[in-house]
Symmetry: C2
Subunit: 236 residues, 2 copies
């Protein structure tokens, strides 16, 4: 059900994505775009603040360093565009995104990430992110993306297009399978997985088998590796 709604987006970026975009000029002379920056690293926030503050029509209204602060800051400032880091200690950026969008369905939020993993990308898309960018974006690209999003557009960069094709064929893990994968990484045998999940060993085997199929891997070791690769598993 997701794949179906995703495809059209790839071929229909909102008007203004390109060389001469009228939205930019409109925004420039009216009122500054109010921004909220969320990242757990103060260095990164400072970098963004410095970079974006240099634009005349941008105004960094607030910063936050975790999911909770992000939600509170949003309520207080209701920014035009929010830049939200995906991975933060204590509640991921996806959670913050979900929470903010629940309270403010019109919130325009651009997710930022260091690694090009596909799971968080799709989670972000599902949760209603307006954009998804790598932190390595060039200044001009970022500024353009923010203007685009402020104007109601969406911006899922190269990342999106790169990862889309592989995801179409790769099926998503079910809840149970995700739990099982997390037990695999901990070195549990099928029997112990069964015990941990409160099911029979045979059921655990079935889940593992299903994981191997969906992830298209040869064994549990590769499943764990791909789990990290896709962002299904995270360092802890």
């Amino acid at each position: 059900m997701r794949a179906l709604t995703l495809v059209p987006l790839l071929i229909s970026p909102p008007v203004g994505r390109g060389v001469g975009m009228p939205d930019t000029m409109l925004a420039k002379s009216v009122r500054p775009i109010k921004l909220l920056l969320v990242d757990d690293h103060s260095m990164v926030r400072m970098g963004f603040a410095t970079l974006l503050g240099a634009e005349q029509d941008f105004h960094v209204a607030a910063e936050a360093e975790d999911a909770e602060q992000a939600v509170r800051a949003y309520r207080e400032h209701t920014p035009d565009v929010t830049l939200l880091d995906i991975r933060m200690p204590g509640g991921s950026g996806i959670e913050a995104l979900t929470q903010i969008r629940a309270e403010f369905p019109a919130a325009r939020i651009v997710m930022l990430t260091t690694y090009d993993l596909e799971e968080p990308l799709f989670d972000a898309y599902d949760a209603g992110a307006a954009g998804y960018l790598l932190k390595s974006v060039k200044r001009a690209e970022l500024v353009a993306a923010i203007r685009l999003v402020a104007g109601g557009g969406r911006c899922f960069g190269e990342v999106f297009e790169n990862r889309m094709s592989t995801r179409v064929r790769r099926k998503r893990l079910s809840l149970r399978e995700a739990e099982t994968l997390d037990l695999l990484r901990r070195g549990l045998s099928n029997k112990d997985i069964g015990i941990a999940l409160g099911v029979s060993e045979n059921t655990a085997k079935a889940h593992v088998k299903s994981i191997l199929q969906k992830l298209e891997v040869a064994d549990r070791a590769e499943a764990v590796a791909v789990g990290f690769q896709l962002g299904l598993l995270q360092l802890e």
Copy 2:
């Protein structure tokens, strides 16, 4: 051989690590500390530059965004202190560190990292880093660390102490074992590992067995997970 030389460092930070440090004052009135910043993310560089540039006795002489540029920039500017990101595309920070230290044995280089993984920490130590800090360090801490290092001190923060104890008992993987671990993550069977390494299946089994012992894990799946956890394996 490493553990022996490391321990004393923990209890003997160079003079001046504390409240009233004379080195700071010395440096302040003499000449600014020349800095080189290396990080592949322009946002991060900008953050550091903004933050450090605000200190009167700091001077950000140059920036670089990969290992190669870092080495060239070092040759050109011979900074007092270099801030070097550990993970960068195309040659890790460790390589840059090694190369610079080979040419300039007195180079004072502080490694910066996002994740608190133990392998790069020890690699950095072995390669002669003067410090090792998480990117999440507070401004004051970073500034103090740079002054300390500029004065000839070393600074391996909380990270170091936390990770040291676990590493003392956990033995390092041999070259062959590291190669084997990388094949495990790709889902190869013992037989295929043997073929890939040009050895017998029995030898491959022996390597795998040794990995499981050294990493103290139950099976290859957990070995892969711990491999990522320790920084022995990286996302690609």
